[in-house]
Amino acid sequence: MQTIYTLFLLTSLLSILLYKKPLLAQKLGFGLACVISLYAAIFFFSNLKETLIWELPGNFISAPVFRLDSLGMLFSFLVSLIAFAVSLYSFEYVKFYEKKANLAVFASLFNAFILSMLLVIASDNVFSFMLLWELMTLISALLILINDGKGAAKNVMIYLGIAQIGAFCLMVALLIMASFAGGFEFSAFDELNIGFGMSMTLFSLLLIGFGSKAGMFPFHVWLPLAYCQSPSNASALMSGVMIKVALFAFIKFSLFLPQFVQFGYILLFFGALSCVFGIIYALISNDYKASIAYSSCENVGIIFLGLGGAFYGLGTNSPMIALLGFIAALFHILNHAIFKSLLFMLSGNVYTATKTRDMDALGGLHKKMPITSIIFFIAALSICALPPLNGFASEWVIYKTMVTGGIEEGVVSRFFFALAIIALSITGAMAIMAFSKIYGAIFLGIARDTKSIEEAKEVSFMMLLPLGLLASFCVGIGIFMNDVVGILSKIVLTLIPQTNVSTYGFISMPIILMVMFLCAILPFVFLYLLKANNKEVRITDPWACGFLYNKSMQIGSNAFTGDIRKALSFILKYESEIKLDGYFSKAVYTHKTHDFFWDKLYEPVIHSIMLIADKIGIFQNGRTNLYAGYILIYLCLILIFGYYYI
């Protein structure tokens, strides 16, 4: 285990040392990362049921112990698996950044980022956890900055700002827990003896802390900003696994608390909000990367729904629900990591080929990039949770959890579970619309702006290989759903040991596939028996009512969602305006969709902070005697406080 961490560290150092030879550094950095993470994935997967402990030699502030139990192993496996695919992809992909950044730095940061995530999962005391957590945030911020586009600095500041709010909450929560536990080691945190109020507070702090990192609503605002800004491989890693690390930590810490049923309700509520709002914004966005980023918020919401079921089960001592809930959440975490990183990498392919993120300029890319397109199709199907792919498998388990939870007597629990199912169904319907739009607008039809796809060509085999691999995971995990559930249930049983599990009453994906195959034969039989006309297809213009076809007649991403924007205008604050000068002029059409929570929640805060910062600036004007004055005032205050309180 240590070897893996060490190797990542060495690769990272090696790449930064080759500062002068960026191309070599890129080959070494990403190549090695690929090999190491493959090894790591195999290692973690084969040790899934073990618990490994590892102590850092030497003596820092406190002896840093690293510990991996089954759950940690699972997440480490996930990180390494995705890291393997992403680094394989990056090997070729980062060449597009040759001019923008030093590839050696990129490679070094990339490795360091993977390492930091792995260490966060493994860390076993408060100090190392917080340190590594902040390190992870910082490195990811630097990764975003690699692609220094317009407004990069501002976006990164928003990301860091929200991350800092989260980290602050975490710090407070962890310190309180540590004081109750009487030690900073996590092993001492078990069975904390605290009351309802305090544990609610701690739970909320943890939820804010990790939720903000995971992109939970209403902390989702940084998602599109950061992910659109960063290179696609970095967004793939961040969205695919960094979010999962936050979720892992959340599961880990909240299990230390004494369990109350309200935890479940809180999670269900925020999960429902998160998935509905996430998908709404994903649907109406015209930037495919922003859409995919917003859909992270949605999927985190879905995961929280699963977790909500689990915590409800723990709170009411119904192990079956808890078990199902944890399985559902972990299953969806696994699936989301796979298809989300896949989608981000695919969007990287599209961006490098077309240099635009505006879906209203794209179209018809399938003819230029057929393999990317087909993989995208699979990824879109699986993120929409359509059978028989993996997204459906995990959402089915979540539905199962909700139904099982809703049977229980009790108005409140029924209400929350019903709410969760409704949210999930709305999300499902809108996800269909969102991803069919994204896929259609990018790959199908004809180019809305012919310039965009002029120079597009299929990416190299090396870049397609990891994508194909992940796509096959999407299919494979879907089909072997019950086996995956079996493995996950064994891991969950280490968390809540007192129950049995059976997949009785589960659907069977192979049978669904079989029936679909059976149905697939029928049309051909009919066509054969009735001797259908098989003549060659004549190719024409699309039907434009007899008028000359024009490419602006094709529906675009924005017009596609016109109706739904209108229907949702009460949430979206959608405004449109037609300006006209006299009877005969061209109209000018402007429309804008406001992110309601950005306007109401963040904008005022940012505004006031700016204001305060301005005011503070007055104190800091560089005059030495004024600073001496500050020190004097401070000393006086200390003395007064000291006098009264000590």
Binding site: N286, D360, D541, A544, C545, G546, F547, L548, N550, S552, M553, Q554, I555, G556, S557, N558, A559, F560, T561, G562, D563, I564, R565, K566, S576, I578, G582, Y583, F584, S585, K586, A587, V588, Y589, T590, H591
Partner: protein, 579 residues
């Protein structure tokens, strides 16, 4: 005399070069080219006029100039109660200007009076007269592949048989649409071939989702060059039949408008019985046209049931036409000086019986439609024509009456027998599709009553006077008829040898198109076809079709009966014995 008041008022502001009187209620004033916009604006807005038509004319053979005639119907602004000219003072005032063939330009009236926009665009297409300051200078009438600098209505432009080389449709130059600026808009084409558009016309809807942001259109797919065809080639009896073929629905209105223009120019009074039957025919036309339109207004919203039942009733109006004219439609009856066919007493009795059926059944279906809240929701608040827009663009017919403006040629300028008939002008406020359909329903009822009155008052005279008359070259006159869709205006300038020098035919819808853009805006794609429909589309019902085998280039003419028989039984395929 009528009209003098307006000429005096105009003379006080603008220098009038010459005043000529065509007939009792028509006066023409010649003004300087530069005074044109102000003269038209003054009559239009200050004196309460509506633009009836504008005629461009190539008079180089007469006075070495091109001429423009802006014909205004002086009837009052009608924007509010009392804003109307007294009934006996209503008349037509025409502003005429002469344009020198060297400059070919004149100041555009459109910036001051928006209603002129299409006329001025057409004047360029047909004559090459350039309106300085016209905000919209795109082609209107001629197709996009028509050669530049060939202005067909100039007398010396081309032989009427000339056909420029056609371009393949994919090589056609693209028409420049007024696409709104802004992102994320989809262009939805509606027509020329669209399920609900019976006539070919191309509407370009600029939509965000289902909402229409703006719209533009390209029409005149069926431009047949009829005005060119008539000039100097047809005598007045032939003109009537040509005018009927302008439209498949309100052809009769065109025929009488055209013939009456000629009759007016020579001050010919036709027998009272002929006048009465002309009115009966034009009201029958209104009956079936309005029934058709109400039916279609249901059909384009998807209400087939109502459509089918309304069409069942419409069949009775065709029967009525058969009794009056001998054909299922009202065509082929009008000649200079009267009519070709008289009615018998038995036919009148039978007609009255059918009128009763139409009246009761139309009431039943209309009540059923009104009781359907879903249908009402599709009609109400859709395609609103603002009152001011309607005023600015001189809209006509049910279109403007639905916006609460009491404008009806039968009422403003009663012609023929209408002076003796009582009827109410249907006016509904609101300006939406519902208001327009309501106007149509009320008119349908009043048509029934008008026909009944005509039958009752039927004068016992001859139906035609001896059409021996002589026309004076260079005389001209306007004639106007309230067709089902509004005022049809025909203008004829006599030529030598009993032929027409210039025939200007302005169908009702010509005045309704320019404001359509403002009716579209803000509605949904679903309503677009309905809005177009509520202006009243038209098509001709063909009695016979020709079957052509593309490969062998053989053809065969089928009768209605053959076709029906084959459709029912699928026996004796007409494709078998092509010749």
């Amino acid at each position: 005399m009528k009209c003098d008041r307006f000429i005096e008022a105009l003379g006080a502001k603008i220098k009038i070069l010459e005043v000529t009187r065509q007939c009792e209620d028509q006066v023409t004033a010649l003004v300087e080219v530069n005074d044109l916009p102000e003269a038209v604006r003054f009559l239009y807005y200050d004196m309460g006029g509506y633009l009836s038509t504008m005629i461009a004319n190539d008079e180089r053979s007469i006075n070495k100039h091109y001429a423009l005639y802006y014909a205004l119907s002086m009837e009052g602004g009608k924007m509010f109660a009392g804003d109307e000219i007294a009934q006996d003072e209503k008349c037509f005032v025409t502003i005429k200007v002469l344009i020198s063939p060297d400059s070919l330009t004149y100041p555009s009236v459109t910036p001051l009076v928006p209603a002129c926009v299409w006329y001025e665009r057409e004047a360029y297409d047909m004559f090459g007269l350039v309106a300085e300051g016209l905000p919209d200078k795109r082609r209107l009438v001629l197709s996009d592949d028509w050669p530049d600098n060939l202005f067909p209505l100039r007398k010396d432009a081309m032989d009427y048989r000339y056909r420029p080389d056609m371009k393949e449709h994919y090589n056609e130059p693209e028409y420049e649409f007024l696409r709104p600026e802004g992102s994320g808009i989809i262009d939805v084409p509606l027509g020329p071939l669209h399920v609900t558009a019976d006539e070919p016309g191309h509407f370009r809807l600029f939509c965000d989702g289902d909402t229409i942001v703006d719209a533009d259109y390209r029409l005149f797919y069926q431009h047949r060059g009829m005005e060119k065809l008539a000039e100097n080639r047809m005598n007045y009896d032939q003109m009537g039949y040509l005018a009927e073929r302008v439209c498949g629905i309100c052809g009769y209105a065109h025929a009488i408008a055209c013939i009456e223009a000629a009759e007016k120019a020579i001050n010919l009074e036709i027998p009272a019985r002929a006048q009465a039957i002309r009115i009966i025919c034009s009201e029958i036309e209104r009956l079936h046209s309005h029934l058709l339109n109400i039916g279609l207004a249901c059909e384009v919203t998807g209400n087939y049931n109502a459509f089918m039942h309304i069409f069942r009733i419409r069949e009775y109006s065709m029967k009525l036409a058969e009794l009056v004219t001998g054909g299922r439609k009202t065509y082929g009856n009008v000649v200079m000086g009267g009519l070709r066919r008289d009615m018998t007493g038995h036919e009148i009795k039978e007609s009255l019986r059918i009128l009763k059926i139409i009246e009761t059944q139309a009431d039943e279906v209309w009540d059923a439609v009104m009781d359907d809240p879903r249908q009402m929701k599709r009609w109400k608040g859709v395609g609103i024509l603002d009152k001011q827009v309607a005023r600015d663009f001189s809209a006509v017919g049910p279109n403007i009456r639905g916006s609460g403006i009491k404008r009806d040629t039968r009422y403003d300028h009663p012609y023929d027998f209408f002076k003796q008939i009582e009827f109410n002008v249907a006016v509904v406020e609101g300006g939406d599709v519902f208001a327009r359909e309501m106007v149509r329903y009320m008119e349908l009822k009043s048509s029934v009553s008008i026909i009944r009155q005509c039958f009752e008052l039927m004068p016992q005279t001859a139906i035609i006077i001896d059409p021996t008359f002589h026309v004076k070259p260079e005389d001209f006159a306007l004639a106007y008829v309230e067709a089902p869709r509004g005022e049809n205006v025909h203008w004829i300038m006599q030529g030598s040898a009993q032929k027409v020098f210039r025939w200007r035919c302005r169908a009702a819808t010509y005045n309704n198109w320019p404001s359509l853009r403002f009716q579209f805006r803000g509605n949904t794609i679903a309503d677009a076809a309905l809005i177009v429909c509520s202006l009243d589309p038209c098509y001709s019902c063909t009695e016979r079709i020709t079957v052509v085998d593309i490969k062998s280039k053989k053809s065969k003419i089928l009768t209605n009966k053959d076709l029906k028989e084959f459709s029912k039984t699928l026996k004796n395929s007409p494709m078998k014995d092509l010749r």
